[in-house]
C-alpha cells in the first residue's frame, strides 16, 4: 500500500503486509487456525503504537519498521449450532458498519484513523467464546483475558490525533507530555442474546471490561493513558423489507471514563448514550447504498469533548463486468462539527489472485474536529493484493 499526502507532498503511508494463514480440520468437529500478519513500513510512515497491546498479544518487532503479529490462533469445536472457540480471536458484534454503538468488545487498529478498507479494523484478543442456541435464542458469550486497547498512530505519523478532545483537552500546539500506557489487567466479559422474528433480528447484549478509549491521568511529570473498566448494555434490531434492510443500535455506558477540563488532567465517570440507524438499499442497476446516522452523547459539564457528536456515513457502490470492477464512494461527516471526509475508490480484480485498487481520502473541516484534525493527511493511495 502506498499513499501520497496531498498537503505535505510526502508519503503518508507506505507498507507491505504478508498474511499467511493455515487451517486444519479433523474429527469433523475440531478446527484450528493460525493467521499471522507480517508487515514492514517504509518512508518513515510508521506502523502505529505497540504499547497499547497487552504483553501476551504484543507484535514481535523486527527493527524499527518491521513487525510480526498473530492475527488469529484458535482451536474451535463445533457441533450443529454450538461452537466453542479458544485462543486469539475477534468478537464482531453490532449491526452497523463502522459506527461502533454496541460493537465495543474488540479493540480497533486506528493507526490510519477511519481511512481503512474495512471499518473497524479489529485487533484480536486472547479469550474464549461460546455460541449456542437456547430455547430458540442465539446465545454468544465471550471472555477475553487480554487487555489490548486501540492501536493508535504515534506522534508524528500521518494520522496521529491532534484535536484537543483526544488529548485530554491539550491544544494542538501544546507540548505533549511524556506519555506512558497503562494496560488494564481486567478481563472483558460479554454476553449477547439474539432472536429472529420473521424478517427481523433483535439482540440485547452486555459488555463489561476495560474501555478501548483512554483517559489521561497524571503520572509523575508526564501522563499515563489508562483504560478503565466500564459496563455497556445495548440492543440491536435489523429488518429486511424488499430492496431495503434497516438496522438500528442503541447502547448505554453506565460509567464512561472521561477527561475533564480541569487541571491537572481531571477525570470522572459519566453516563454515555450511543445510538444509530442504518439503511442498506439495493437501488436499480446494481447500485448499492448504505446510509447511517449515529449519535454519541456523554452527560454532564466540563468535558474535553462536546457533549454530543452526530456522525453520518453515506456509501454508494456499483460493480461492473461480473464484479471484476468495483467503484465506490463514501462520505463520512460529523454533522455536529461540520467536518468530514470524501473517499472515492476503484478496485479491479484482475483474476482470482491479483487485485489493484486506487482511491483518495479527502478531508475537510476544523482541525479540532473528529475528521478535520486529519486535514493535513488528505491523500491519494494505491494498493495491490496478491493471494497465493
Amino acid at each position: 500500500m502506498f499513499a501520497h499526502g496531498l498537503e505535505t507532498d510526502q508519503a503518508n503511508q507506505s507498507y507491505v503486509q504478508l498474511k499467511p494463514k493455515v487451517t486444519a480440520r479433523w474429527n469433523r468437529n475440531w478446527r484450528a487456525a493460525l493467521s499471522l500478519r507480517a508487515e514492514a513500513a517504509f518512508d518513515n510512515t510508521g506502523l502505529g503504537s505497540i504499547d497499547t497491546f497487552d504483553e501476551i498479544s504484543r507484535p514481535l518487532e523486527l527493527g524499527r519498521d518491521g513487525r510480526v503479529e498473530i492475527e488469529e490462533a484458535t482451536l474451535s469445536w463445533r457441533r450443529r449450532a454450538t461452537r466453542v472457540t479458544l485462543g486469539k480471536q475477534t468478537f464482531a458484534w453490532g449491526v452497523l458498519d463502522g459506527l461502533q454503538v454496541t460493537d465495543r468488545f474488540d479493540a480497533v487498529r486506528r493507526r490510519e484513523a477511519v481511512f481503512t478498507e474495512q471499518r473497524p479494523e479489529r485487533l484480536s484478543k486472547w479469550g474464549v467464546r461460546a455460541e449456542f442456541d437456547f430455547a430458540g435464542t442465539r446465545m454468544d458469550m465471550a471472555a477475553a483475558i487480554d487487555g489490548t486497547a486501540d492501536q493508535l498512530a504515534v506522534p508524528g505519523d500521518a494520522f496521529s490525533v491532534s484535536a484537543s478532545r483526544f488529548r485530554a483537552g491539550l491544544p494542538d500546539n501544546a507540548p505533549t507530555p511524556d506519555l506512558t500506557t497503562d494496560i488494564s489487567n481486567d478481563p472483558t466479559l460479554g454476553v449477547r442474546a439474539t432472536r429472529r422474528f420473521g424478517e427481523s433480528d433483535a439482540s440485547i447484549l452486555l459488555i463489561h471490561g476495560p474501555d478501548t478509549e483512554p483517559v489521561f491521568r497524571p503520572d509523575g511529570i508526564g501522563a499515563a493513558l489508562t483504560y478503565d473498566t466500564r459496563t455497556l448494555v445495548g440492543a440491536t434490531w435489523q429488518r429486511s423489507a424488499g430492496a431495503r434492510v434497516w438496522r438500528v443500535e442503541t447502547a448505554m455506558v453506565f460509567d464512561q471514563p472521561v477527561n475533564l477540563n480541569t487541571l491537572p488532567l481531571g477525570t470522572d465517570t459519566r453516563q454515555r448514550w450511543l445510538g444509530g440507524v442504518g439503511l442498506d438499499w439495493d437501488l436499480r442497476d446494481g447500485v448499492f447504498l448504505n446510509a447511517q446516522l449515529g449519535f454519541d452523547h456523554i452527560e454532564g459539564d466540563n468535558l474535553v469533548r462536546p457533549n454530543t457528536d452526530v456522525i453520518s456515513t453515506v456509501k454508494l457502490q456499483k460493480s461492473f463486468a461480473n464484479q471484476t470492477w468495483l467503484a465506490s464512494t463514501e462520505i463520512l461527516s460529523s454533522l455536529s462539527d461540520g467536518d468530514g471526509t470524501f473517499r472515492p475508490a476503484l478496485s479491479w480484480q484482475i483474476d482470482d489472485r491479483r487485485r489493484v485498487q486506487a482511491g483518495a481520502d479527502l478531508v475537510w473541516g476544523d482541525r479540532e474536529g473528529v475528521f478535520g484534525q486529519f486535514k493535513d493527511a488528505s491523500r491519494v493511495w494505491f494498493k495491490t493484493d496478491w493471494t497465493l
Binding site: D133, S240, A321, D352
Partner: protein, 269 residues
C-alpha cells in the same frame, strides 16, 4: 327474428375465440405448473464447480458446497465457498418462503459478520457469475406469481420436439426486480425441466441463455447437475457442474442457521 342470427353467430364466434384463448392460456399455465410442481428433494447436498469465462476468454473458477432443502413452506439454499482462497469461507443463505417475503444472508470473512441482505435483490448477479440471486433460488422454475404465461410453437431441441413456454413479467416492477421482462423456454416434459431458456432484459433485448446439459435423479427427484448461463450482451459465460450430489433427507436445521454461516463449511454425512 332473422336479424338475430348474425348477432348470435358473432357471439358464438366470439365465445369460441375466447374459449381458444382460454384453452391456450390454461395449457400454458398447466405447463408452468408442471415445471413449478416438479418433484423436489427434502434435502440434497453437492459440490458446485463454477467456471466463469469472460468475453476475452479469461477464466475464473469457484468451488462451493451447496445444501438444499425444501420443507414445503420454505425452500432453503446454503452455499459455502471453498475455492479459490480469495473467496474461501464466503457463505450465502437463502430462505424462499411461500407465504412471506424471502430472506437472504451473506457471510464475508473480511467483515467477520453475517449480513442480512435486501430480499428484493433477486435481479442482482451472484458473486460474479451470470446467474442472478433469483436464478439460484428459483431452481429452474418460473414463479406463477411473477409471470404471465403463453404457449409458443413447439420447437426442436437436440432432435426432440419440445413444448415452448413463454412468460412475460406480470408488471414492470416485478420485471425490474427480477432483471427480466420475458422468457421463452423449451420444456422437457419427462423431467419437468426447462432445458433451454432465453431471457430478455427489462428493455426487451435478448439478455441471457441458460441451457441444462445434464439431469440426473437424486433421491426421487430429477436434478440439474450440469448447466451453463451465457450473457448475450457481454459474452460472459458461466458453467456450473455438480459433483458428489446426493440425497440427504434429514439435513440438520443448523446448516441453514444464518449465524452458523460464520462457522465455515459444515460436515454433512
Amino acid at each position: 327474428m332473422q336479424f338475430l342470427k348474425p348477432l348470435c353467430l358473432c357471439a358464438a364466434l366470439s365465445v369460441a375465440g375466447v374459449s381458444h384463448a382460454d384453452d391456450a392460456s390454461s395449457d400454458a399455465l398447466a405447463l408452468a405448473r408442471m415445471v413449478a410442481d416438479r418433484a423436489a428433494n427434502e434435502g440434497r447436498v453437492g459440490t458446485m464447480h463454477f467456471q466463469l469465462t469472460s468475453s476475452s476468454k479469461r477464466v475464473r473458477e469457484r468451488e462451493a458446497l451447496m445444501l438444499h432443502s425444501d420443507i414445503g413452506v420454505t425452500e432453503r439454499i446454503a452455499i459455502y465457498f471453498t475455492e479459490p482462497t480469495v473467496i474461501e469461507e464466503t457463505a450465502f443463505l437463502s430462505f424462499n418462503h411461500t407465504s412471506r417475503e424471502d430472506e437472504n444472508w451473506l457471510y464475508l470473512p473480511a467483515t467477520e459478520r453475517v449480513r442480512r441482505l435486501p430480499a428484493g435483490d433477486r435481479g442482482d448477479y451472484f458473486l460474479g457469475t451470470d446467474l442472478t440471486y433469483g436464478d439460484i433460488k428459483d431452481n429452474f422454475k418460473f414463479s406463477l406469481d411473477d409471470w404471465q404465461f403463453e404457449l409458443g410453437e413447439p420447437a426442436q431441441y437436440k432432435g426432440a420436439l419440445m413444448p415452448v413456454l413463454k412468460g412475460t413479467a406480470r408488471n414492470p416492477e416485478i420485471g425490474i426486480e427480477m432483471g427480466y421482462a420475458s422468457f421463452q423456454a423449451k420444456i422437457d416434459e419427462a423431467s419437468g425441466f426447462p432445458i433451454w431458456i432465453e431471457y430478455t432484459d427489462t428493455d426487451g433485448e435478448p439478455l441471457k441463455q441458460i441451457e441444462i446439459l445434464m439431469i440426473e435423479p437424486v433421491g426421487d427427484a430429477p436434478t440439474a447437475i450440469h448447466f451453463t448461463a451465457e450473457n448475450l450482451q457481454t459474452g460472459h459465460h458461466t458453467e456450473v457442474r455438480f459433483s458428489d450430489m446426493r440425497h440427504v433427507p434429514d439435513l440438520d436445521d443448523s446448516v441453514f442457521d444464518p449465524e452458523v454461516l460464520a462457522y465455515g463449511v459444515p460436515d454433512v454425512d
